[in-house]
């Protein structure tokens, strides 16, 4: 088991290295540097600035310097927020994004699995149709439109929830619903089809024939076996949360990492873009690893080679 975890950890290293190299390459082939303003800087000042950020060195030296700093966990200085490190900015914004992420993850898992179970057990009833409708809308509805609808109804029409910022639990409700809605729809869809699949298996029929109580069959046999595919989707769903957070943080003016990423892109703040991209990759690699491990725990048939 420990060897399995170690191997999965090691697999993440080449992925991270590839992403680091690619982002570095991308950022250095782009025409237009971060210090090309509309108002031209005098050449001496520009040279000084570039020397400070090591932009005057040959490109391979810059790359080695960058990798060396990465090993130490140092993502470099921000070009835009003078005097601040990318590490500092991430340290300030990351907790906010994580709060948002965890909160919406909870919402999506709870509503998704519950509605999926209800629909799967009562297939071809009103509940089932409603869940399918909810799932299709959830997949089709862009999150900025959902956010607009939520803000219009709960902040402007009924003034019960704040439309922006991040100051306490009341501010978390609308953004978390927005971010969790699409994943909830995916989870509901998957849970439903997985339950329908399991409920028609022979061993469930056997359990029924034995005369077990319906509730026991559902909770002990059906749910346990149908939860597997739902666990596997959590890896890809992390990506949905990450990209969703850009939009949600932008709309609700939440000071999280996603919003800083968008600003960094508009400002061409390269170290910031590279740093945030790496953090996102790290999150995704780690989630996929956790999902694999959980999966191996849940299904003893999978061997951790």
């Amino acid at each position: 088991m420990i060897i399995f975890i170690l191997k999965r950890l090691l697999w993440g290293v080449p992925v991270l290295l590839t992403v680091a190299t690619l982002t570095f390459a991308i950022m250095h082939v782009v025409p237009g540097g971060p210090f090309d303003r509309e108002k031209r800087l005098p050449p001496e000042i520009k040279a000084n600035v570039e020397a400070k950020y090591h932009l005057d060195k040959p490109i391979y030296k810059q790359y080695l310097l960058y990798l060396n700093n990465l090993m130490k966990g140092n993502l470099g200085p921000s070009y835009k927020y003078i005097g601040r490190d990318v590490n500092e900015i991430i340290k300030d914004t990351f907790p906010v994004s994580i709060q948002l992420g965890v909160f919406s993850l909870l919402i999506s898992v709870v509503t998704g699995i519950c509605s999926g179970i209800i629909a799967g057990i009562n297939s071809d009833t009103v509940w089932d149709r409603l869940t399918i409708l909810f799932a299709t809308i959830g997949i089709s509805l862009p999150n900025f439109i959902l956010a607009a609808l939520l803000i219009l109804s709960f902040s402007h029409f009924y003034k019960i929830l704040p439309p922006a910022l991040w100051e306490g639990w009341r501010h978390m409700i609308l953004p978390s619903i927005t971010l969790g809605f699409a994943p909830a729809a995916y989870i509901a869809r998957l849970t439903r089809s997985s339950i329908i699949d399991v409920i028609n298996r022979d061993y469930i029929r056997t359990a029924r024939a034995k005369g077990l109580r319906y509730r026991n069959i559902i909770f002990k046999h059906v749910l346990k076996n149908s939860i597997m595919p739902v666990v596997t989707i959590m890896g890809p769903l992390t990506a949905t949360f990450v990209t969703g957070s850009f939009v949600v943080e932008y709309i609700f003016s939440i000071p999280g990492m996603g919003r800083f990423f968008i600003t960094a892109v508009t400002n061409r703040d390269y170290p910031m873009i590279m740093g945030v991209t790496l953090i996102y990759t790290l999150i995704i690699v780690l989630t996929n690893m956790v999902v694999d491990i959980v999966y191996a725990f849940l299904d003893p048939r999978i061997k951790y080679e």
Partner: protein, 267 residues
């Protein structure tokens, strides 16, 4: 065939033809400013109201459909071509080549689409072409995985062995015998690819990283209205509804096609 898929298909046909014909059927040019009619709500003269420069929103949405829908269709087509070639070679060759080619796909697949698209648009700049390129670079991966999986399955069938016995070459086996058998799942995937391209484009434009004015896709229009959503909600609601309806139609169509092509697997 189910009703919702047919209705969706009709809806999509109507939207795309009317967007193609927009220079003739739109009531006003998309960039005609009228300073006497700023920020009006929906009325008989402007059925969806006007924006802050007095431009007719309905006309702008019609023209915007051209961009949004063409981005979707073109991306789906280019993903189809790249994905089929890549996935086809990988699945047909199998073994070590397949293993190597798929690792590259796995890396791209595990990263979030929007993140990659944003990074790519940083390199090639903003605009229609760069969005199209970025969406294609990200989009072919799904198609490649699908085609590869199908080919791995199909090439074990006996009909492949028999045509090989007759003396058919690799190209002939691949294009005449294997590829046509993947058409069902391929069309379904393309429908969903189209939907997700439209969604990514509108999201990108909404957060201000998409198309630059005066061109306006639905996402750009929604973003334009966003600043004053509290007082003029129609500027966000109408473009938003256009996106939502198109997405719903594509998803219903995709579901319907999947059921039609694969009657065993009803989801």
């Amino acid at each position: 065939m189910n009703k919702s898929a047919i209705i969706s298909c009709l809806f999509l046909i109507i939207v795309s033809t009317s967007s193609l014909l927009s220079p003739w059927i739109a009531p006003y040019p998309f960039d005609l400013q009228n300073s006497d009619e700023l920020l009006q709500g929906p009325s008989l003269k402007h059925i969806m109201g006007t924006d802050k420069l007095g431009r007719d929103l309905f006309s702008r949405i019609l023209y915007g459909a051209r961009i949004s829908i063409s981005v979707g269709i073109l991306t789906a087509l280019s993903s189809l071509i790249i994905g089929t070639v890549y996935g086809g070679v990988s699945g047909y060759a199998g073994g070590r080549i397949d293993n190597f080619m798929m690792r590259a796909v796995d890396v791209i697949y595990s990263l979030p689409d929007l993140l990659m698209i944003i990074l790519i648009t940083v390199i090639i700049g903003r605009g229609w072409v760069s969005i199209f390129l970025a969406l294609s670079i990200v989009g072919w991966v799904t198609v490649a995985r699908l085609i590869r999986g199908e080919l791995l399955r199909l090439k074990e069938f006996q009909f492949v062995e028999s045509v090989r016995a007759i003396g058919a070459g690799h190209m002939r086996i691949f294009f005449i015998h294997l590829l046509p058998n993947t058409i069902g799942p391929l069309i379904v995937t393309l429908t969903f690819r189209c939907a997700s391209a439209i969604l990514s484009e509108s999201t990108l434009s909404f957060i201000g990283l998409g198309l630059a004015p005066p061109f306006a896709s639905w996402g750009t229009l929604a973003n334009d209205g966003w600043g004053s959503v509290k007082f003029y909600p129609h500027l966000t609601i109408f473009p938003g509804t256009a996106i939502l309806l198109t997405m719903l139609a594509l998803n219903f169509l995709g579901d319907g096609l999947r059921d039609a092509f694969d009657p065993h697997r009803k989801v």
